[in-house]
């Protein structure tokens, strides 16, 4: 097996809140293999966006990376000086934001924003940048005549394509897409995801796709990392994680979303309760207060991430009983009465 | 903006509380303290000032006590070219400054709030007419307007108040109006109307308490404006020659060659007093804004 493009090891990110600090990401470890799409999934506030932003090292003013490593092509980018990190940004690691409306500068044409990265970060001259901008628009399926338009003149889906074009401008090795289709309707979501998949395969790049929507993961991802309350709950090949989940949280998550392909997958069952307050997380497994299968041990000890099948790891004390729990988890009544 | 608790305490207490004085903001407290000092000075001017501000003074040798330096012959801030005591003038100047400031601010806040309230609450053609009037008020150059007005009327400190009442309600009215519009769109006004409350009752009970702090905010800005305007008018010679104000002192100093005489003790203190009172208004305003618009991020 080849070395992964990016290995995140024991990453910790804390936010200064009030007088104290909150660990939004508390020891996340996962690999991003080359040439594949990794889905990073979880509820809002689980730390997935913080992980995504931590990889670019552009995080909120009150946030700090307090521990861990991020080995990107053999270099720990958590430890290199800011100057060196800045050289990597966009040339190697690009970003597709959730809302392209707010993330494109309203006072410049999209052409000018493409030129900005191509020339200032890619070192191209005007002519080369223009050719590349046209090529990028062709790649994402927008007429090049629209290069001169301002962001507000595009529809939501088109703006997201512009954001993809921008991300691919300098041929990055890794593209981080933070909820890239959340703001769009389902039909446009599929078009954008199809395009992302196609471009990823064509260019052989790696993508981290951050989403709260497990059906998006099912639609395009090769591997999946499921996060809960700042920690990794389960990680593995997408097929394995979604068809044979071993963590009760993944099982619950699967019940809570419709299929992106439109096929009804029975009734939708939400997981009762809310994620814990990270300022004072529960001592044991963080999912225990909402878990229908929680035992006494779960409220005491933090479960380690164990590899139970090839490349499939899970952090649950009852992972060995997973086949039985899966049977129970598909029933709605299991989730109605939390243990 | 959090809704006001309808506490069943006495009306004065409720009124005071509904002003929501920004007592937890250091700048605002500083501003309120400055106001307090000036109010006390104005009230006890007779006791504080050593001389009548218009009295022409003489030295012990029966010479005119003109252009005395500070400390000379016991004059704290020296004397003017006519032999009047600068410090006493300064002390009495607080009276006209506060009188004009407070009345003008009250008029501006009152008219502006009423116009904004009526305009925003009733809408329709009432709103259209009032807002066009505001547009016209915005088209009138304020200081020239005061000068022309002052020239036609008898010289009086009230000219400034009148001119401000006629023109400067415009800013307050626009802000209050938009605030009333958002308040009116909230559910409880409709609920009150369905429940059979009259317009007057809805305005008094639900809308007025919520715009009072905004009125007060614009009032505290207007105090500064009024004092600055009075100073300018007096400086230009259109003020009331009978009353001693800081603007009058500056005009007197300027006309008496105080600049060439390097008599800083004469023209610097009135300016500093104006700055203090006006910036006190700004500081209070800032404190208010932090309460009223916490999202401004300050």
């Amino acid at each position: 097996m080849t070395e992964p493009l990016l290995s995140v090891r024991n990453l910790k990110v804390s936010y200064a809140v009030g007088g104290g600090s909150v660990d939004a990401v508390d020891g996340a470890s996962f690999d991003v293999p080359r040439g594949s799409i990794l889905g990073l999934v979880g509820e809002s506030g689980c730390g997935k966006t913080t992980v995504a932003r931590a990889i670019t090292r552009v995080i909120a003013d009150n946030a700090r990376i307090t521990g861990g490593e991020m080995i990107f092509e053999g270099t720990d980018i958590a430890a290199i000086p800011e100057r060196q990190m800045n050289a990597l940004r966009w040339r190697d690691i690009a970003f597709i934001p959730q809302s392209a409306m707010n993330s494109l500068d309203p006072v410049y044409t999209v052409e000018s924003q493409l030129h900005e990265v191509l020339r200032r970060r890619g070192g191209m001259d005007r002519r080369a940048a223009q050719a590349r901008a046209e090529e990028l628009f062709e790649m994402v399926g927008i007429e090049k005549s629209r290069l001169r338009d301002y962001p507000h003149q595009f529809s939501g889906g088109m703006r997201q394509r512009v954001a993809i074009a921008l991300a691919l401008a300098l041929n990055p090795k890794l593209v981080i897409a933070d909820e890239p289709v959340t703001a769009l309707d389902v039909i446009v979501q599929r078009q954008i995801l199809d395009q992302l998949r196609e471009l990823q395969a064509m260019l052989g790049i790696s993508v981290i796709l951050v989403t709260h929507d497990i059906s998006v993961v099912a639609y395009v991802c090769d591997r999946t990392v499921v996060m809960y309350a700042g920690r990794i709950a389960e990680e593995g090949p997408m097929e394995a994680v979604l068809t044979r989940p071993m963590h009760p949280y993944t099982m619950g998550l699967r019940n809570a979303f419709p299929d992106l392909k439109g096929a009804a997958s029975g009734t939708l069952t939400p997981i009762e309760g809310a994620p814990p307050n990270l300022a004072s997380p529960p001592p044991g497994c963080r999912f225990a207060p909402r878990c229908p299968f929680a035992l006494e041990v779960c409220t005491r000890a933090q479960p380690p991430l164990r590899e139970l099948a090839s490349g499939h790891r899970v952090a649950c004390h009852r992972a060995d009983e997973a086949p039985v729990l899966r049977e129970l988890a598909v029933r709605t009544e299991t989730w109605l009465v939390p243990a | 903006m959090p809704e006001l608790a309808i506490a069943r305490s006495g009306l004065p207490t409720r009124l005071f509380r509904s002003l929501r004085l920004p007592l937890n903001d250091r700048f605002a407290v500083f501003g309120l303290l400055i106001y307090l000092v000036f109010v006390v000075t104005a009230l006890f001017a007779d006791q504080i000032a050593p001389y009548d501000p218009t009295e022409i003074l003489y030295t012990e040798d029966y010479d005119l006590a003109a252009d005395m330096r500070p400390g000379q012959e016991g004059f704290i801030l020296g004397t003017t070219s006519l032999g009047r005591d600068v410090f006493s003038q300064l002390v009495y100047g607080t009276r006209s400054a506060l009188l004009i400031g407070v009345t003008a601010a009250f008029m501006v806040a009152l008219i502006g709030s009423l116009v904004g309230l009526v305009s925003g609450y009733f809408g329709g053609w009432t709103d259209a007419v009032l807002m066009r009037l505001a547009d016209i008020a915005f088209g009138i150059p304020f200081l020239p307007f005061v000068i022309v007005l002052a020239a036609f009327l008898e010289p009086s400190i009230w000219n400034v108040v009148l001119a401000m009442a006629l023109v400067l309600w415009r800013d307050t009215a626009r802000v209050i109006r938009s605030q009333v519009l958002t308040l009116r769109s909230r559910g409880y006004v409709d609920a009150a109307r369905v429940a059979g409350s009259s317009d007057a009752k809805i305005i008094l009970r639900h809308i007025a308490p919520n715009i009072l702090p905004l009125s007060f905010l614009y009032g505290s800005i207007a105090i500064g404006w009024a004092i600055l305007t009075e100073a300018s008018i007096s400086f230009l010679g259109f003020g009331d020659p009978e009353s001693i104000s800081w603007g009058y002192m500056l005009q007197d100093a300027f006309a008496s060659q105080a600049l060439a005489k390097q008599a800083y003790y004469w023209f610097v203190p009135p300016g500093l007093c104006i700055i203090l009172v006006v910036s006190a208004g700004f500081f209070i305003t800032r404190g208010y804004e932090n309460i009223l618009f916490p999202k401004l991020g300050r």
């Binding site: 552009v58 050289a87 990597l88 940004r89 966009w90 040339r91 970003f95 934001p97 809302s99 707010n102 494109l104 500068d105 309203p106 006072v107 044409t109 900005e116 990265v117 970060r121 301002y150 507000h152 003149q153 | 547009d135 016209i136 915005f138 088209g139 009138i140 150059p141 020239p144 307007f145 000068i147 022309v148 007005l149 020239a151 600055l228 100073a231 300018s232 400086f235 230009l236 010679g237 259109f238 603007g247 500056l250 100093a253 300027f254 105080a258 600049l259 060439a260 390097q262 800083y264 023209f267 300016g271 104006i274 700055i275 203090l276 006006v278 910036s279 208004g281 700004f282 500081f283 991020g297």
Partner: protein, 325 residues
């Protein structure tokens, strides 16, 4: 063209405002205490002059007829005869306008250049010690009476240090040969320096505070974060994206500030004996030269209203969200 329509309706609206101001001015000067004819006729004018003015302004006719004549005269730029100068008011005030505009624009350009840079800097350094000291100082400059600041600067730089002349626009007997010769001569600039500095110090607070609060808002926008993720230089992030977006409302405030400044000029021009519109207004009112006072007031009002219109149009021109709708 939706924005063209909006611009037209705004122009029309401000034309109505101008008409209202003109009417108010008419009523003020006709209904003032004393002889209503005093608005145009000085007792020392010759009998023929008096009669000519009576006829020209219809002063023996009823008020409404006078009003119609007044409007008609205004449209032709006819503002009457100045009592003091014995020359047409229109000529007099148009001759003074350049002095006022030069003072206004010089000071505002300095104020805006400084205010925009300092405001952007303070926003970028928010929470720092510099900011904690600077903001109260800026608020204090806003609280100063402009003419007092002028007096202090005059006392220090002119009377004490002797660096600058104390008032006027030119040294006695100097001749510059033409418009540009005058306004670029070192002599003129020495006269301009103190009044312009006074107004600039007073005016910089508005653009500074506006720029700063806009910057603080814009810095929270996603596109600024994205610019950082793109690895762009701090300069590019702060200036090309944050400042450029924050600048928009500040630029439109420039036109409005010109209007405000013209009003403030009244006192500063007096302090520095600067022969401009504001000082002329004060002198005309003091000397009961009503036609001149009326004309000066009107011209100031026209510029104020015109600047409000320019501010609106400028905004729709500078913001692509409006101009490319």
């Amino acid at each position: 063209m939706a924005h063209l329509k909006a611009a037209l309706s705004r122009t029309l609206q401000l034309a109505l405002v101008l008409w209202a101001v003109v009417t108010i001015l008419f009523l003020m000067f006709r209904l003032m205490p004393g002889n209503p004819m005093a608005a145009y006729i000085d007792p020392t004018f010759t009998a023929e002059q008096q009669e000519a003015l009576m006829a020209q302004f219809g002063l023996d006719k009823p008020l409404w007829e006078q009003y119609v004549i007044y409007l008609g005269n205004l449209l032709q730029g006819e503002l009457g005869q100045s009592f003091r100068y014995r020359e047409p008011v229109a000529e007099r005030i148009l001759a003074l306008l350049p002095n006022t505009l030069i003072l206004t624009f010089t000071s505002l350009i300095i104020a805006y250049a400084f205010g925009i840079l300092a405001g952007a800097y303070l926003a970028w350094r928010r929470g720092s010690a510099v900011e904690k000291v600077a903001i109260p100082i800026v608020l204090t400059t806003r609280a100063m009476p402009e003419f007092w600041l002028g007096m202090v600067l005059l006392a220090i730089f002119s009377f004490w240090l002797g660096w600058f002349p104390a008032g006027g626009t030119r040294s006695a007997g100097s001749d510059y040969g033409g418009f540009w010769g005058l306004y670029t001569s070192p002599d003129f600039l020495a006269y301009l320096a103190l009044p312009a500095l006074t107004l600039a110090i007073y005016s910089q607070g508005l653009p500074l505070l506006l720029m700063r609060s806009n910057m603080l808002d814009v810095m929270k926008e996603d596109f600024v974060t994205m610019a950082r993720i793109k690895g762009l230089s701090t300069w590019t992030v702060v200036v090309r994206h944050a400042a450029r977006n924050a600048l928009l409302p500040v630029m439109t405030s420039f036109a409005i500030a010109v209007g405000y400044q013209l009003q403030g000029n009244v006192v500063v021009e007096t302090v520095f004996s600067w022969p401009g519109l504001g000082r002329e207004l004060v002198r005309a009112v003091s000397a009961s030269d009503y036609p001149l006072a009326q004309g000066a007031f009107l011209l100031i009002a026209v510029v104020v209203i015109l600047m409000n219109l320019i501010a609106d149009l400028l905004y729709s021109l500078l913001d692509p969200r409006v101009s490319h709708a």
